[in-house]
Symmetry: C2
Subunit: 454 residues, 2 copies
């Protein structure tokens, strides 16, 4: 870069901070200049950090959010989407406890003819990350080159991967600084971070699962709505078809929470065995979210019109093993040995210790608090406290009882598993699980999971 252009940046970066500080909106050109400067490491971190803090405190309007999103996507390597006649789509969840829905949804959608380049992340805060879960699969490589991602999406309809070095470098830099200066909670920055990454995938459509409640980033439905609104309108302004499903996340989804446990659960749901439907039933809430998201994707692609039609296709793909076949093929394509891929349930890392938490009294489970369950898994080292923490891939917990279930005194409520946690940490985890379960009397009617679609 010439000295002249550096100087140009110099003025504009300082001016941008100053303008934002005074409450002025930044222009499209300014946002692109900023992103370019960040992508070229042309500006010192302290200026970027101060600007991010100004963004956090003064906000960005919808146009600025759009411009920033487009600018961040512009200075990134781009994937070619799927084949021309297919619909390329991805899903983003804001994260929840037990939310391993992607592991089922992605192969299911691909088996129904959608192209799914699924870029995922690592665990954050109290929720797990798909990449950490995939790490539990022996041999699986989530860092694969661009060419392989494109080839896999074309041939198998699915690739499961993490951001490469050249993908969304501006987001990576901004995210690291936001994390260091307590600015991760700026909604416009959340929106631009999510969508700019997805824009690099060459998508036609994008479905959001925006969660609220005890186990989500946002506690209230109101906050989730605001985020969903911003996500959908920004994605649409970027010429993506887009819908957001707002889902309640007060209780853990499904039965498994943790890396290997969630992979095993997804596997059991996908694999066509005589037990398969029992797994669907025991994970009713998990399936409800997965089928709703699949419906939104298929409808967006013009492949179905109604939810029953979509459910029919999905159940057929699951029970026939079509979705499972895609999953196995993708695992093999991404480094897993054939016999491991086909009998994954026998090759996942097994925990060294198991602790059973039992009901202190009989009754009906009235509520399972996702936050306490998440805290329990953090004690079990399933989640990172810091970036550099080692994650226990075998660790997690299995819920034997869910809300509405009857339970006798001394009966199993949950099973804690892990290899890295100390006995003391297991003890803390059991305490949290104890706090999570509310056991009482009378009938319990669970609240609806899917509260709104935007």
């Amino acid at each position: 870069m010439s000295k002249l252009s550096l100087k140009h940046f110099s003025v504009s970066f300082f001016e941008c901070i100053n303008a934002k500080k005074e409450g002025r909106s930044l222009s499209r050109q300014e946002m692109f200049s900023l992103a370019r400067a960040v992508s070229q490491d042309a500006w010192p971190d302290y200026q970027i950090a101060a600007l991010l803090m100004a963004f956090r405190l003064k906000g960005l309007d919808s146009k600025e959010t759009l411009y920033l999103t487009q600018a961040m996507a512009h200075y990134s390597e781009q994937l070619n989407g799927g084949p021309k006649n297919s619909f390329t789509v991805d899903k983003h969840s804001t994260g929840g406890v037990g939310d391993g829905v992607s592991l089922v949804l992605a192969p299911l959608a691909a088996s129904l003819g959608l192209s799914v380049p699924m870029m995922s992340g690592r665990s954050l805060g109290l929720t797990g990350g798909t990449l950490d879960k995939l790490d539990a699969i022996p041999g699986f490589k989530s860092r694969i080159p661009k060419a392989q991602i494109e080839r896999q999406v074309k041939l198998l309809g699915l690739a499961l991967f993490g951001q490469t070095e050249k993908m969304a470098p501006v987001d990576r830099k901004l995210y690291a600084l936001r994390d260091a200066v307590a600015a991760v909670d700026a909604i416009p920055l959340v929106i631009s971070s999510i969508i700019s990454k997805k824009l690099t995938e060459g998508l036609d459509g994008l479905v959001f699962d925006v969660k609220f409640g005890r186990g989500a980033i946002f506690e209230t439905r109101h906050q989730a709505r605001a985020l969903a609104q911003g996500l959908v309108s920004t994605a649409r302004a970027c010429s993506l078809k887009s819908q957001a499903v707002i889902t309640r996340m007060d209780e853990p989804l499904g039965r498994a929470i943790g890396n290997a446990p969630e992979v095993l659960q997804a596997w059991s749901i996908l694999k066509p065995t005589s037990q398969q439907r029992r797994h669907w039933t025991s994970c009713g809430d998990f399936m409800e979210v997965a089928l709703e998201l699949a419906y939104r994707m298929l409808k967006m692609a013009g492949l179905v019109k109604t939810r029953p039609e979509s459910n029919g296709l999905a159940c057929e793909a699951l029970s026939s093993g079509k979705a499972w076949d895609v999953f196995v093929d993708v695992l093999r394509a991404q480094g897993v040995r054939p016999h491991v891929a086909r009998e994954l349930d026998r090759h996942l890392p097994s925990p060294k210790r198991t602790v059973v938490v039992r009901a202190p009294s009989g009754g009906v489970v009235r509520f399972v608090d996702a936050r306490h369950v998440a805290l329990a898994t953090r004690h079990l080292r399933v989640l990172r406290r810091r970036q550099e923490d080692q994650v226990d891939l075998s660790g997690g917990l299995w819920l034997a009882k869910k809300t509405g279930d009857e339970v006798a005194k001394g009966e199993e409520l949950a099973r804690l598993v892990g290899s890295l946690a100390t006995p003391q940490e297991f003890f803390w985890a059991t305490q949290e699980v104890g706090k999570a379960f509310d056991i009482g009397r009378g009938r319990v009617r669970p609240k609806p999971l899917i509260v709104e679609v935007m």
Copy 2:
């Protein structure tokens, strides 16, 4: 520093940013931790910059401002004040056009028995800096060691110096970052920066000259009042006697604007010659501010009770040459050769070019706009546009006419002098001077200069 204490800082710095972002006030302990971390370079610039932006946008309450001020002063080398039986005092001006008052006030105050360790800075924005002015004196050293400053204050009552490496290192770091991220205009940070530096001087009292108007940082009296209020209350909370004089800065003070010109003007006011009183009269506004500030200092020290009493002492010190003697002694102590010090008016850098601006029409000068005069001096390279700019020590301008003066068409209004400016820059400077002068008809009554004392 041990790893443990680093970790301790880590948590607290992030927590401080987060707290401030959410609008919580920081505690005394937190402010001291911050200052210590900054003084030890224990924290990355991007976190400090983000915190400064949060300070700028969320504000600091009076307690936080006090704690930050004390913390910044704490992690600094400290000067011993003057002798025990003397009153140690300094003055701070927020800066104005032609405000070389310190050059007269400091030796005057010292000659009246006050101890004055006067720490000054360089030009900033549209106003000059005392250190730049002192640079115009051949041989003068403003960077002198702590021991010399203390000895001079003890023996001569006065030292004129710039911040040393070990003095106020936290302020230096924070100021550089504020400058880089457009956060210099945060009032609480201005207050803590000014007072923390002054606190390291071992003062008993501190007088502020807070200016407002066309040639000041703040245009309105309201803003100046707010700053003055903060300065006085913070200084008093730090156990300093303190007063603020709020002065109008719509028109340049005195006749000289520039480095050598202002030194020459101060010299003419100080030196006991037959011409001395004529200089006092022609610089009536300059003298009014100088005598007001001297009065506030002397009264604070308990040396006078009334303004007439103070004026009497001051005039005696000036006309007897006592103040001039101190000035000459200080110049000699700080590196100026004896014959240069005694005949300074003949040794100041002389300008290579002079351009006279004449009245385009006859009448009465109704107003001289300080802002345009400042812009003119900037064209003449008297002020820095950037930190690294070379300053023309010989450059500046002399006002032949001031508000209320009658002027004939073609008569001299001002004289521009300089050695570095190009003919084009001189032309731009004359244009600005032309804009500065408002010549009309009728009597003009100048507005009061000193509008309030707090």
